[in-house]
Symmetry: none
Subunit: 408 residues, 2 copies
């Protein structure tokens, strides 16, 4: 018995529903994808409710489940995941928020929720807010991509159960309200932070320059999605595996860091449509040399789904298939490979849906069923049956001969 390596490839939102323009085929059924089909032919196949039947997964909760963490027990808001994504270390007890830089007028009405999709200067603006003291609470603040940023409050007696300052639409700025009595101190701190942010940002050279150029100033920060984390047992300890993630998109990077994976920078992995499939394949092969478990996420399918662009989605399938082909040419049979999605994003819905996702697992001398194609319907007659997201890691560990015996 040899311990096998494990490779998990997650095609974000690639799973879909029938598309009229393809005579009822899904994008996976309509695409040419020899590598995916080869994987399905050489392994066992099934469908997966990533969270539970009828639950629409977020990318964050989905990935927690795929890594074997019950999202109902471990997930409390998106803030900490975004924070981990931009490299802030969130500890149990901290409260973290996703934020937008936005524009308010003199009467404090929001006139642009994204400050004209500001792309430069946010690093300087963030620095002006980072380290702020609110009584004995310390602010950690960092810019994200474009108009996005992350706020983390550190101090005693904080509670994430507060409402959003962001009204999610243009108009009146909301006050953060405690949703439970224990969260009053936190809501007060958030409101104080927002008031101070307006003063500091209005006075900042970056914004004076923007106003001069006729651009909306990024003169307020809108926190939302407050969350805290319970401390997650790292995958290294939970499974005894060294783990690396090949991933571009910030949110998923955040999850990977929270569960203790190494997240190396991959040249060309953008988390968008222009992601470089060949770079990802080479990075995956590189990480497999030095890690027991490698996780790969490709975001582009989800983007095509949200855009409702079925042709684009087919070309994403074919791009990922190329990436997979490059990997499969180099990987030997001693790696257990799983190919799946974190959720469906049907082009007809333009949003995540609760439809189960296809799953194939092969390699390592494991069983082979009669499924010949990797798509939402073909896999459903396979030997894996219908499983849940939190079952995936245990099943992969079992096939890699890394599972522990219970009993004698």
């Amino acid at each position: 018995m040899t311990l096998k390596k494990m490779l998990l490839i997650v095609c974000d939102g690639l799973s879909d529903r029938p598309v009229k323009e393809f005579d009822g085929r899904t994008p996976l059924q309509a695409a040419r994808k020899p590598a995916m089909d080869a994987l399905a032919r050489n392994g066992i196949n099934g469908t997966m409710d990533v969270i539970a039947p009828g639950v629409v997964p977020g990318s964050d909760t989905a990935h927690l489940a795929l890594f074997g963490y019950d999202p109902y027990k471990t997930y409390a808001g998106r803030g900490p995941i975004e924070a981990a994504g931009v490299g802030i270390r969130v500890s149990p007890g901290d409260v973290a928020f996703r934020c937008n830089f936005a524009t308010v007028d003199k009467s404090l009405r929001i006139i642009d929720r994204r400050a004209g999709r500001i792309r430069s200067g946010t690093r300087e603006l963030a620095k002006a807010l980072d380290g702020m003291k609110l009584g004995d609470i310390t602010v950690v603040f960092r810019e994200g991509s474009e108009h996005r940023a992350v706020l983390v409050l550190k101090g005693q007696g904080l509670d994430h159960r507060v409402s959003d300052v962001d009204p999610h639409t243009e108009g009146k700025l909301h006050k953060s309200k405690p949703l439970v009595p224990d969260a009053k101190r936190t809501a007060d701190a958030v409101n104080a932070f927002v008031s101070r942010s307006i003063e500091i940002l209005n006075a900042h050279p970056v914004n004076k320059e923007r106003v001069k150029s006729g651009l909306p100033p990024a003169n307020v920060v809108l926190p939302r999605g407050a969350g805290s984390i319970s401390s997650l047992e790292p995958m290294t300890e939970k499974y005894g595996l060294s783990c690396a993630a090949v991933v571009g998109v910030t949110l998923v990077k955040g999850i990977c860091r929270l569960v203790g994976m190494e997240v190396p920078d991959v040249h060309g992995a953008t988390g968008g449509l222009d992601t470089d499939y060949r770079s990802k394949a080479l990075a995956t092969l590189e990480q497999l040399k030095t890690h027991d478990f490698v996780f790969v996420n490709v975001k582009a399918g989800d983007v095509a789904g949200h855009d409702g662009d079925y042709r684009l989605k087919v070309s994403v399938v074919e791009g990922i298939d190329m990436m997979l082909g490059t990997i499969l040419r180099e990987v030997r049979d001693d790696v257990v490979i799983a190919l799946t999605c974190d959720h469906s994003t049907p082009v007809s819905v333009k949003e995540h849906s609760a439809d189960p996702v296809p799953l194939t697992i092969s390699g390592g001398g494991g069983r082979v069923d009669g499924v010949r194609e990797f798509d939402e319907i073909s896999v459903a007659s396979g030997a894996l049956g219908r499983i849940r997201g939190t079952d995936l890691m245990p099943i992969m560990l079992g096939m890699a001969d890394r599972a522990k015996k219970f009993g004698a």
Copy 2:
């Protein structure tokens, strides 16, 4: 509606993975097995995670699950099951250990963990230790097969969370240590028992005779696998069924006794490769006359799996098929028959694995799906889907029209 009888046949460790020498077929796929296939054709089929997806079952935890007891709630160590196997009644509060008779030299180093695989005289040696008093704790001690034995401590305030005396290798005798403060009294008793066993066994005529014949004396007892039991509701009460087990192997006999089955002695049922399939078939038919539920375990497939002997495994399949054929010729359609395994023991792994096991259930006028063969892959497309071990008894009871209605 008539209540039907129920027959559960468990092929220990028979389930497997693809075997290279069989062109990727499993031993079940490679064997000729007309009776198993007939059963599959006349019933519903599926796969089963005996404990849970990705969990490698022990034979003990697996059988608890198959009989409908959650092993996570009812299993605390192998000792009590071994004890029940040799016919000692273990009560809640007792602590039971599996033991070896072994050989120590004058400096108390273990020089043979199995005392030369001693085969005779262990009954006399065990009698010399049975009934020993350690303060207000009473020792029950009984020999098992070959060098094996069972120790049960009975008294107030015992706790099974103690470490093994058996170092599981030749060398220095370990002291039993309490793993929690509450277990100190138990660890002290175990260590006192081991010291006394050395004195008593060294002085025993059986050992004097062995030394004279140049054989290693069985002059120490090495307890390991401490366990206690919560009290299990007997199957007779849990399901309202009279139950009998046709089983050779001690560990499984122990489980059957713990759950209140009758375990008649079956001539020729050895729990090994030389088990007499025809005797087992006749014993099964005999027990079916007088019991509502009969359980049959055939151990040989697990032995072939541990040995990594794929040819032997095929011949075990064909032996069990003969046994099944003999049973099916005599049984009418008013018996619900389930055929399955307690776990997989792939010949390529030589150990239990987490791969799900095949399951077919037929008879009693139940549904019939299109599956035509009984093997790991064919059953997976059947109408049963993928179930868990603890679901088996409820499903069989349902098909036997013995399940209770919930609601009006």
